[in-house]
């Protein structure tokens, strides 16, 4: 097992290398340049100023030099300084990442708590009216473009009924530790973000449960006098565990990149907005750092998934 993990870890290194190289290349070859943009916005910028700025941002080096010096800094866990914000990229990520994680974990919980039972219920009454209702409602929320769902939520619950705030994480002036206030701010974005998960988990569980229902051991278990529902949940969940782990791996990417659209609509100060702004402003230290970190976490999650598979099915470990 140890050798298996080590091998997968080593395999992750070239992947990370590839991730950064592709991002860097795409980035630097795409049109638009942070300095020409500053110059466009200011009056009478001199040639010397432009040269100084290019040097300040390290843009006067050749592209391979820029990439290598970036790699060199990464080796020391130094992500450099944001062009736009004049502060260390690490600081910016450390301020946005916890917010994104908070939102993602809450919405993940909602998705699992609602999605899993929905799937099992649908499967148990397959073909019935209940099944059809669940099939429609399980994915209905996800079929609405998320910005539109956000607007509807704001118009109805914030403006019309005043139940929840329009956006942000905390009421200005309230204590950081005011849990009730935090929760009120979480409701809208967390629900919006959980819709995709509800759709996926309910569909996944429905399939897995249908599969179990057709197998002989269920009947055997029932014959032994076990409660059918318990048997169902235990077996269906066990079967669904691997696909759910797989889905969680993909979800980690969302965790890290944040959900841009939902953060934008609900004024949530997370990673998605930070990266989006950096992307449109060509602030590449932020973009590169974000790609690197999320790439890193994704690779880790794939390894974790493979290990989980390896534990569940020893044949994988060849």
């Amino acid at each position: 097992m140890g050798r298996f993990i080590l091998r997968r870890l080593l395999q992750g290194i070239p992947t990370l290398f590839g991730v950064t190289l592709i991002s860097f290349a795409l980035w630097r070859f795409s049109p638009g340049d942070p300095v020409s943009r500053l110059v466009f916005g200011a009056q009478n910028v001199t040639a010397e100023e432009i040269a100084a700025l290019r040097h300040f941002y390290g843009l006067d080096q050749s592209l391979p030099e820029q990439y290598l010096s970036w790699l060199g800094r990464i080796a020391h866990l130094d992500f450099g300084q944001s062009f736009l914000y004049h502060r260390p990229v690490t600081d910016m990520i450390m301020s946005a990442l916890p917010n994104t994680l908070q939102l993602a974990l809450v919405s993940l919980t909602i998705a699992l708590v609602i999605g899993i039972p929905l799937g099992v219920i649908a499967a148990r009454s397959r073909g019935s009216f209940i099944d059809q209702v669940v099939r429609v409602f399980g994915v209905a929320g996800h079929a609405i473009p998320s910005f539109w769902f956000g607007y509807l939520f704001i118009l109805v619950f914030a403006v019309q009924f005043g139940l929840f705030p329009v956006g942000g994480m905390l009421t200005i002036g309230k204590s950081e530790l005011d849990v009730a206030d935090r929760l009120r701010h979480l409701v809208g974005p967390a629900i919006a973000l959980s819709l995709a998960g509800i759709a996926n988990y309910s569909r996944l569980m429905r399939t897995e449960t249908l599969d179990i229902l057709g197998q002989d051991f269920i009947r055997a278990a029932q014959a032994k006098g076990l409660r059918p529902r318990t048997v169902l949940y235990v077996h269906a969940l066990r079967n669904a565990l691997l696909p759910i782990i797989t889905a969680l791996g993909g979800l980690l990417a969302v965790l890290v990149s944040g959900s841009l659209v939902i953060e934008q609509v609900f004024a949530w100060p997370g990673m998605g907005r930070m990266i989006y702004e950096a992307a449109v402003s060509k602030d590449y230290p932020i973009v590169m750092a974000a790609v690197f970190i999320s790439g890193f976490l994704l690779v880790i999650s794939y390894i974790a998934r493979d290990i989980a598979y390896g534990v569940a099915d020893p044949r994988v470990r060849r």
Binding site: V39, Q43, Y85, H86, Y151, V159
Partner: protein, 572 residues
């Protein structure tokens, strides 16, 4: 703040914010009269809603409007422009003077100026700010100071002091190497940093030292000259400032001034309705709805800046843009007033030349208004020898009146203008092909790309472009219109006119108000006749403020929406 700031539009919403400015209610009978209810009381907090976060709270490094919104509350300047006319007025300096040759400027400081920590304010703080700017490697602000005698030498390390700035007690004398009339406003309104805090980052003998990476750039010290002092900054969420009891115009009534970020337009309008934010400027689509809210006051004022269509005279295949008749036809042929009425709900002004109609330098007399006249447009095109082809498009010698019309998709108003222009130009036999490109790429296209044929003369690879200028308080427009700016500068349409050059040079060297005014009238008349742009329109700033906030006095220039902030108060 000396800068022609383009609409900073990568973040689409900033575009509107860039227009914080002038003439209260100049065009709006609907501007709610500020009912002064009761006597001002101290206490409370105002929450200002913004589409985008500030970036850096240092005037030397600042390049965006949100940063300016916040740092202008912290730091002060020697002079401040009048909210209605844009003329310089006293601020930290109680008196100021420019010599007739435009080379020497004298400022006399008020008595008893102190920073919020009690340190006295002096001319050294001003001089230090100039020094720090010249030594910075990350600034785009040197143009404000580089013509001061000895400034460039100080910047490069050849000198250990700036000889052109002389401090004598309360008097600051600044000597310029060449005449520079706009300097009074551009230099005078530049925000001044506390030397007691930032002084440690500079070394007179070591030009490599600068404050570019100072932590105080993003976490300002509790040493402020403005009405408020920095307290905390939660990135992308909010910035909190607290009252400066030692503010030189009197202790502010408000306890806190908060800058809250709500990036989405719909959400921001909703937050204004629910009272989550108190103060917000919005885009026209939200106007009608917010006006119906009984808890909001509405202010509308024109801003120094405009949205235009630029005709690239140095683009192969589009040589017809060098023909004045064609350019005039393209102004006559687009009903800009209808666009303003229907898209901007009348909250804007049609522009026919460069200088903002609200500026002291503006004079409408002698300017053609170019009222919409499709027949006249076609006559002008025909007068230049064009005939309509079978496809309904005018052509001459095989060259069709056909061009690419660029804009960037993250600005809905510009996209709408583009759609209308394409449709209306088709009706006068001109084929504009709509093209869109993300803002950074469009900027590259306008300033860096090379036209196949005219690239060596400074021609860029686009036919026409819809974009906007946000202008400084001073009417100087050298960097946009002087022919020296056609190669690599902001005159990316390749427009050259010796008479315009002369007028712009006069505006910089003949510093008397009347002489400058005459120069800019001349300049506007030339542009008005030439129509190198379809000058489009200037949209009003549409400001909504919760009625619990009292004592506002917004205006087009100077401190704009935040004029007299120390007098704002919250109705209990």
């Amino acid at each position: 703040m000396g800068s022609f700031r383009s609409y900073y539009a990568g973040v689409k919403f900033l575009a509107v914010f860039a227009l914080l400015a002038l003439v209260i209610g100049a065009c709006s009978p609907s501007a709610a009269p500020q009912t002064s209810a009761g006597t001002p009381v101290a206490g409370g907090r105002v929450i200002v809603g913004s589409f985008a976060d500030a970036k850096v709270l240092n005037p030397i490094l600042n390049n965006d409007v949100p940063s300016q919104d916040v740092l202008n509350r912290l730091y002060e300047s020697l002079v401040q422009t009048d909210t209605k006319t844009g003329q310089p007025m006293p601020r930290l300096a109680e008196k100021f003077d420019a010599s007739p040759d435009g080379k020497t400027f004298t400022f006399t400081l008020r008595d008893g100026l102190v920073w919020s920590d009690g340190t006295p304010f002096s001319g050294d703080d001003f001089k230090f700010t100039v020094q720090a700017t010249m030594r910075s490697k990350a600034t785009t602000r040197k143009s404000n100071f580089q013509d001061i005698v000895g400034a460039t030498d100080y910047g490069s390390g050849k000198a250990t002091d700036i000889a052109g700035i002389v401090i004598n007690g309360k008097t600051i004398t600044v000597n310029f190497a060449k005449a520079s009339c706009p300097a009074l406003v551009n230099m005078g309104t530049f925000r001044i940093l506390p030397k007691s805090v930032f002084g440690k980052y500079l070394d007179a003998n070591d030009a490599t030292k600068n404050l570019d990476n100072a932590p105080e750039n993003t976490s300002p010290p509790p040493v402020a000259m403005g009405a408020f002092v920095f307290k905390e900054w939660k990135p992308n969420d909010h910035i909190t400032l607290v009252r400066n009891d030692k503010f030189f115009l009197g202790k502010p009534l408000l306890d806190e001034w908060v800058y809250k970020i709500v990036p989405d337009g719909n959400a921001l309008a909703a937050a204004e309705k629910t009272g989550e934010v108190d103060y917000v400027t919005v885009e026209p689509p939200y106007l009608e709805d917010l006006k119906k809210q009984s808890n909001l006051s509405f202010f509308s004022y024109l801003s120094p800046g405009y949205t235009f269509i630029g005709w690239n005279e140095l683009h192969s295949g589009n040589e017809f843009f060098q023909d004045k008749n064609v350019r005039q036809a393209l102004t006559y042929g687009l009903d800009m007033q209808q666009v303003i009425d229907k898209i901007y709900l009348g909250e804007g002004k049609k522009m026919v030349a460069h200088t903002p109609p609200i500026s002291w330098a503006y004079n409408a007399a002698g300017l053609n208004t170019y009222n919409f006249d499709a027949a006249k447009a076609e006559q002008l095109i025909q007068a230049s020898g064009y005939t309509k082809g079978a496809d309904g498009i005018y052509q001459k010698g095989g060259q069709k009146l056909e061009f690419d019309l660029w804009t960037h998709p993250d600005n809905p108003t510009r996209v709408t203008l583009q759609q209308v222009a394409v449709e209306q130009y088709k009706k006068i036999g001109v084929n504009a092909i709509p093209k869109q490109e993300a803002f950074p790429a469009l900027v590259d296209r306008l300033t860096k790309s090379k036209d196949a044929k005219y690239g060596d003369q400074g021609g860029h690879d686009f036919g026409a472009v819809i974009i906007g200028w946000s202008l400084t308080d001073d009417p100087d427009a050298y960097s946009i219109w002087h022919s020296s700016q056609a190669a690599g500068g902001l005159d990316f349409i390749g427009y050259k006119n010796p008479a315009v050059d002369k007028a712009l040079e006069d505006g910089r060297t003949l510093c008397g108000t009347d002489q400058r005014k005459a120069a800019y009238q001349n300049f506007d008349k030339q542009l008005n006749d030439d129509q190198p742009y379809n000058f489009g329109f200037a949209g009003n700033t549409l400001l909504f403020v919760n009625k619990r906030v009292q004592g506002l006095a917004p205006g087009s220039f100077g401190l704009r929406g935040f004029t007299d902030l120390q007098k704002w108060w919250i109705q209990q």
